[in-house]
Amino acid sequence: MRQPYGAIIGIGELKPVRSTTGATTLGMIAEVARLAVADAGLEPGAIDGLLVGPQVGETPQHVPATVAEYLGLRPAMANVVDLGGASGAGMVWRAAAAIAAGMCETVLCVLANCREAEPPRSPNRNPIREFDVPFGASGANATYAMIKQRHMAEFGSADADFALIAAAARANAQRNPDAMFYGKPASVADVLASPLIASPLHLFEIVMPVAGGAAVVVSSAAAKGRQQPAVHLLGAGEKVTHRALSQAPSLTSGPLQPAIARALAQAGAEIGEIDILSLYDCYSIMVATTLEDAGLAAPGRFGDWLREADLNRLNPHGGQLGFGQPDLAGGMTHIVEAVRQLRGNTPMRQIANARLALVTGNGATMSEATALVLGAAA
């Protein structure tokens, strides 16, 4: 196993809510940043690096400076990470790389969002808006539905195989009181009985958009005097292949395949050694494809893997299918849960002897991918 090249020393997460009234994105960023820095046992002045998401609230440009000013920070490294659901994972290795380059010592990576009851429509003026939307394909449901449909048509996978993923997420959410679907389990039959939104995707296979936030504090692996057991960054991989699904090189394998391979190679780990699978799950199909791209299941055979695996260790917090998707912070929740598990003291759902975690982030339509291998210290 290689030397760690960074450590996550603080985490913060907001309990998701379906919608907010009058909240601002900046305000929610501040709330979750406070939690993460307090968890690390640091004073705000210790933060000298800042990574934020794009288009924060009404701030399309100068986002790092706006957030830094709001938080009273004067970072020596500041940037936007704009990789959709892969943004959180993309932040973690960038933070470690900036620290290794000597640019800063302690980086706050933060994502949060408010959500009005009726969110405004996207102002996109890009090829997707010009060449997809006019044909009746607005939004991610339509495109992820086509990824699932291709899997079913090519491999003969069954709707019930995909429903297992959603049912497992709901089951794990019963051990997370913060999850949107805590107290609301759903069986495979319930998933299959939920309304078809865009065939073959049913409602319960689709994340619920919520308001929330998540943040981590990244430091060098050698930093001393921590409040929490450090969780080491052992490997990372990233790949971006397209934006619109029509331009994807494959509908059955995504950029997470090379990203996971690189992350595992950097960590000197095999996929079979991973204890915690914190896999980005905006839709059931995303988990199916990731299990196959990670090499856990042969192409087309994720269902076989699911029926034999211990699904408690697949997104123990319920995944986004069980927890809710607070916009870009949804991807960060997979990191926060992996850190909790590797610290070894997660209430209600600690996986025994959790030493290694694979975290995946996925953005746009299986377009932007980042994978992290995290490990418990010592």
Binding site: D132, P134, F135, G136, I197, S199, P200, L245, S246
Partner: protein, 135 residues
Amino acid sequence: MNLSELKVPGPTRTALTAPFWTAAAEGRFIVQHCADCASWVFYPRQICPHCWSQRLEWREASGRARLESWSVIHRPGHPGWEPAAPYAIGIVRLAEGPSMLSHILTADPQLHLPLQVRFTQVGAEILPCFEPADE
């Protein structure tokens, strides 16, 4: 459902892409072709994404394609499409090579189904939709 009655967003043309939509309105299916590497390119771009040549030229394409995947939309992402639901969209692989997303005019979509372009008025615009073709 007559798609021409929909109140839906049409293409957001740019100077570069306008010839594609203008041709579609005339019932012609044109696609960019690279004079240097001979690739066909969709969607229209300023340079060839395969070899970065600037010599992209509009050519008539066959309008033949095969269905790579599809979805029947029951809850459209845009409210203007609700009167048409359920309807099918798909990823089509043009005979010339590139793939595009389109509206699929069939109740029985299948993997690799042969398709032919069918210019169809959707809202105020004429768009290259696809329908099943004879082999």
